[in-house]
Amino acid sequence: MSADGMPLLNIADLKVHFPIYRGLLWRKTMGLVKAVDGVSVSVRRGEVLGLVGESGSGKSTLGRAVLGLNRPCGGSISYGGVDLLRLGKREFRPYRSKIQIIFQDPYSSLNPRMTVYDILSEPLRVHERLTRSEHRRRVSEMLDRVGLEEAHMNRYPHEFSGGQRQRIAIARAIIVRPDLIIADEPVSALDVSIQAQILNLLVDLQQSFQLTLIFISHDLAVVRHIADTVAVMYLGKIVESAPADRLYARPLNPYTQALISAVPSVDPATRARRIILKGQIPSPSDPPSGCHFHPRCPHAVDRCAREEPPPAEFAPGHHSACWFSEFPPS
């Protein structure tokens, strides 16, 4: 877990806005959905960054922006010192094999008409020039690495269980030896007993290939398990980020506190006092003024509705965007 030195990925003030159109022929822009609105975060080589938030918080949009799957309208994504947003299609190509993604739903992210061999060799065909036998060797090597067998190579996705399919999706992502993996809710669609298998696999692979991982999830327990650093998103902004242990032990932002307290626990002893938030996450096309969280925040005062709190560092590596986050007594 050596995670020091220069950041591999540095995202600064990233904005991804989607216009809302009205009308068919004379399309008028009616408004903007600010899915990601001024996010800055950096990930060091070999680090696991956990990105948590509820649906609509912009966590997936952020992950997709890094892959070039949507078009940010502001900010920068610097990968090893190169701003990916300034690259043309051709120049971006080499980075496509360096950055890979694992999707949530292993039922829809694998082409049902391709065999496992086709699925795994396609990225090799695109990114590397290999002979046929090398293809086969790499594919069977990778299958073994993710806990599948060589005999599975000629089967189709429907012949596998959800957990096995997710193993195929993971193999497809790492077969081109990427540096950075975006895992977008990779275990959310799986049963509890299978979830642990896939998490263990991801941890093993991350460590043996020294992968940098951005792990996107709504499940705080899963993120706590896998991440070195956790960033909490709310309505397109990062409201708090800190080393995982610290974030769960001493959350500073009221939203993070509520989120952690809302997780149901099996252990009656650790069952925290629940903070029940009122209302729901507002629409990102019409976010509240000031601090986006103020309408639901139990501590909100007038100032929160007027001024947006900037992220501030309260302890080394621990940032929170709230007027009332306090410096914890040491």
């Binding site: 877990m1 696991v48 509820e54 649906s55 269980s161 957990g163 049963d191 509890v192 007993s193 299978i194 979830q195 642990a196 298998q197 998490l199 263990n200 941890v203 460590q207 709504h218 705080l220 327990a221 899963v222 706590r224 398990h225 896998i226 995982a244 242990d245 769960y248 032990a249 509520a258 989120l259 952690i260 307290s261 809302a262 997780v263 149901p264 626990s265 099996v266 252990d267 009656p268 650790t270 069952r271 925290a272 629940r274 029940i276 938030l277 729901q280 996450i281």
Partner: protein
Amino acid sequence: MALLEVEDLKVHFHTRHGVVKAVDGVSFSLNQGDVLGIVGESGSGKSVACLSLLGLVPSPPARVAGRALLNGQDLLGLDGDRLRQIRGRKISVIFQEPMTSLNPYLKIGAQLMEVLTTHERIPAADARSRSEAMLGRVGIPDPGIRMDQYPHQFSGGMRQRVMIAMALLAKPDVLVADEPTTALDVTIQAQILELIRDLQRELGMAVILISHAMGVVAEMSAQILVMYAGRIVERGAPADLFRKPLHPYTRALMDSMPAPTDGGSAAERQGCRERPVAGRRKRLAAIPGTPPDPANLPAGCPFAPRCPYVLDICRKTDPEERPAPENSGRTFRCHVDI
């Protein structure tokens, strides 16, 4: 006498690939005001068991056997008309998908009022005012306006509140909540669970809460049934299950969950397993393999192929349910004392 008494319930599907034993000999009883939790993975039979009580599992292909006595009346033998009198009035269901279980063409108000007009001879104005009051009770602001809106104008959490209002309108004796919060965000989940708990206490009804999430069930229920491959493998109070699981599956399930708060997983805190020291990112105690194919269950105990405590006998004979050694009203279904 118990409010609901389910005895040896079996739901088998006869298919081309053999007999799928979705539910295979499930018994439980429910008293008035009880909250019973059922946990299990997908395919464990937890939903099918409860839906079959309401005649919501089409038969054929399903063959339902056993007894399910509600106030002494067997639900399993009833015809469609009789069942319709029970559904909604005596037993109500909240489904997982608030997006698909409301009719998109009908106003919320019409869907709510239908519950009352089906079961009671009641003037429309009364049905409307009672529906409106119930919408307000489940925490929907401006219920008068919301009555005249369509489902698409509601968010996921709000739709689930509508579903709850609809389920509770006729004041049922039993509420079946089938994964009521699975499709919802954590903060909304907390709201909905609190609402169900409040209403349960206020109306004194019995609740069967079905979920794959152990945490959700543990927080809500007084008694938990753990299901695996169509049968109940362990039953007990949540604190007991957590402190000392008796069935290897329950134990494995607890161990494989990452802990949301400090102190590591359940097993680590009990000192059953030493806490790994190398690196913070420890391995989870995953359960090997996958749940068995219900059309092709292994001989003996269905958990045997994945069980770390497996003995020879486990592969030959299916264990009977037996009481826990300390005699605390708990039972489990395993040859081994772990």
